[in-house]
């Protein structure tokens, strides 16, 4: 079926059929982007950016067009870049809806930090979900990071407070604060997240230095609502896109980057602690075309 064909081949086919960039070509291209979860509006915007360029630069063949599309995507991700804040310890707050991969991504980032020789602490801010504390504890051991937790049901803001004390007293370089998954429309749960963030800031000026939203690459248009409401609550610095090892293209982040200009820092490519790569707009664009 059409869905399984490569976008790149489809573009070749399209241009060989029509021989020119006619309405049909643009319409079909839009379909293809929609099928990669870029979404109707964002696809439309992206193509509106491309159309005049194709005309101006007198693009005629498929390869030149694909290069241009790639460059445009890279540009969109570049526009979303921001200067990073830091401190010692550098405090990272991980947020997102349920089951997207927050805890596993903390394990991956902590592993990375440890490998860079940073003394790393992970804090069990999910005191709600069954065995969330135990899950993070197992990861901390595997990674070789320090671990701080209170009991199940404890106030996550209290976990944040005490984990910061521990990090400062024991000279940690890096703190990762896990939080429970929450649906972005639940006002009380978003308030809880704000409180965690406030507590971190009170313990240390500038903390959390990075507030990271984890997005599942299989997510469709709802991701836009997730980004909007999490941004409004805790002001996001970064996005990590997980589960790109499946068949989902993760096209929704094109829409996210276009609309919210929040940089994508890493991608998750599996369930092990090594399965993390820095995000590259170029590679993402390539994968989208394949």
């Amino acid at each position: 079926s059409k869905t399984r064909e490569q976008l790149s081949k489809q573009i070749d086919h399209l241009l060989s059929m029509t021989g020119s960039f006619d309405d049909e070509f643009w319409e079909e291209l839009e379909e293809i982007l929609i099928m990669a979860d870029v979404g109707y509006e964002a696809s439309h915007k992206l193509l509106e950016r491309l159309r005049p360029k194709v005309r101006r630069e007198d693009i005629t063949d498929a390869q030149a067009f694909k290069d241009m599309l790639k460059a445009e995507l890279v540009q969109i991700f570049e526009e979303a870049r921001r200067p990073a804040k830091t401190g010692t310890p550098e405090v990272v707050l991980m947020v997102g809806v349920n089951g997207v991969g927050k805890t596993t991504t903390i394990a991956k980032l902590a592993h990375r930090a440890q490998m860079q020789g940073k003394k790393t602490l992970v804090a069990a801010g999910d005191t709600f979900r069954a065995a969330a504390i135990e899950q993070l504890n197992i990861w901390a051991k595997r990674v070789g990071a320090g671990f701080y937790a209170k009991e199940h049901g404890a106030d996550p803001a209290a976990v944040a407070f005490e984990a910061m004390n521990m990090a400062i007293e024991q000279g940690y370089d890096q703190v990762f604060m896990d939080t429970a998954g929450r649906i972005h429309t639940k006002v009380d749960l978003m308030e809880e997240l704000k409180k965690i963030k406030r507590v971190l800031g009170k313990k240390m000026d500038g903390a959390p230095h990075r507030t990271i939203l984890v997005l599942d690459a299989t997510t469709g248009q709802n991701a836009l609502s997730q980004v909007r409401l999490f941004s409004e609550a805790v002001d996001l610095d970064e996005i990590v896109l997980t589960k790109l090892d499946g068949t989902a293209k993760g096209g929704i982040i094109v829409a996210v980057a276009l609309e919210y200009k929040i940089p994508i820092s890493f991608i998750g490519l599996g369930e092990q602690m090594e399965d993390l790569r820095p995000f590259s707009g170029e590679d993402f664009a390539k994968a989208l075309l394949d």
Binding site: T3, G101, Q135, I138, Q221, G246
Partner: protein, 306 residues
């Protein structure tokens, strides 16, 4: 961003003031709005195409209802067709089989299998059943612990799996154990896996072969986008699932994946997860989810009465 379909249709039909009925031209415009609404709800592109064709055929032969505007007529047709596609009537679990009833959960990572297993245990106990929970995820850190804690919270027995056991052995031994404890429903919680992971998909097939579950529920996240069709098709192809559970529906996800999954697998959606609490499980109602996908609430009740 997520305008309701009726708002869109009303806007589209405003341009046809004076035209009180559906004709080829305004149907075409109306259908364009329907198409956009479905795409924004993450219904798969090809499913949308087929759906629009069906609507078009029906709308063209439509009798004029005096009480409705053309926009409302299109909404009415779309809504009815969607309920039809989503499964018409409600279908729960088949509890009539010879005990123990074995239910196997399967799906992508993080979709909600473990939580839904526990929710179903509670649901079944309320139906005077004796459920037995089986943690068969030996991969994810603390997955066994997670289900044990949920079982404990419910006061439902669970199998004492350990991470060094083989999932197939866990499931077959657990069924024997359930019989001994006079439990009549066994819930197998399997590890999350990608549909393209050959080895892990084979493991599910092996569990199916050995345990002969009467129900295999594919658990899917309602926020899933266009890839839902690929994932659901593959799970169904390899396991011939008996039903679908759609999770995390209490938020603002439009849940178009429901329509995609139903269309590619033909399997009924049986339950909907509406929160993290174990009581947050509802039997699937096609009409509610249809309204949700179309992004409309109260207008419908008005139209339904017409």
């Amino acid at each position: 961003m997520f305008d309701s379909l009726s708002d869109r249709l009303n806007a589209a039909f405003k341009r046809f003031k004076g035209h009180g009925r559906l004709d080829a031209k305004n149907i075409k415009d109306g259908l364009r709005e329907v198409r956009l609404a479905l795409l924004e709800a993450d219904v798969h592109f090809s499913v949308v195409k087929d759906f629009i064709e069906r609507i078009k055929d029906r709308a063209q032969g439509q009798e004029v209802l005096e009480s409705l505007t053309p926009g409302q007529q299109v909404v009415k047709i779309v809504h009815e067709e969607m309920i039809e596609l989503l499964g018409g009537t409600t279908s729960g679990l088949d509890l009539g089989t010879k005990p123990p009833l074995v239910i196997m959960m399967a799906g992508l990572q993080g979709s909600g299998k473990t939580t839904t297993s526990a929710k179903l245990a509670l649901y079944l106990r309320r139906q005077k059943r004796k459920p037995f929970l089986v943690p068969a995820d030996v991969y994810r850190p603390a997955a066994i612990d997670q289900l044990h804690k949920l079982a404990n919270e419910l006061g439902v027995p669970a199998f004492a799996s350990t991470a060094d056991m083989n999932p197939v052995d866990i499931c077959s031994q657990a069924i024997e154990e359930a019989k001994k404890q006079a439990c009549d429903v066994v819930l197998l919680d399997t590890a999350g896996r990608l549909h393209i992971d050959e080895l892990l998909m084979q493991e599910l097939q092996a569990i199916k072969e050995t345990c002969k579950p009467q129900e295999i529920l594919f658990v899917a996240d309602s926020m899933t986008g266009q890839d839902a069709v690929n994932v659901a098709a593959r799970f169904n192809e390899l396991l011939d699932v008996t039903g679908v559970v759609l999770t995390k529906m209490e938020g603002d996800a439009r849940g178009g994946a429901a329509l995609s999954i139903k269309s590619v697998t033909g399997k009924p959606i049986k339950f909907v997860g509406m929160g993290e609490k174990l009581s947050d499980l509802e039997v699937f109602h096609p009409d509610r989810v249809a309204s949700r996908i179309l992004g409309m609430g109260d207008v419908l009740t008005l139209i339904e009465k017409a």
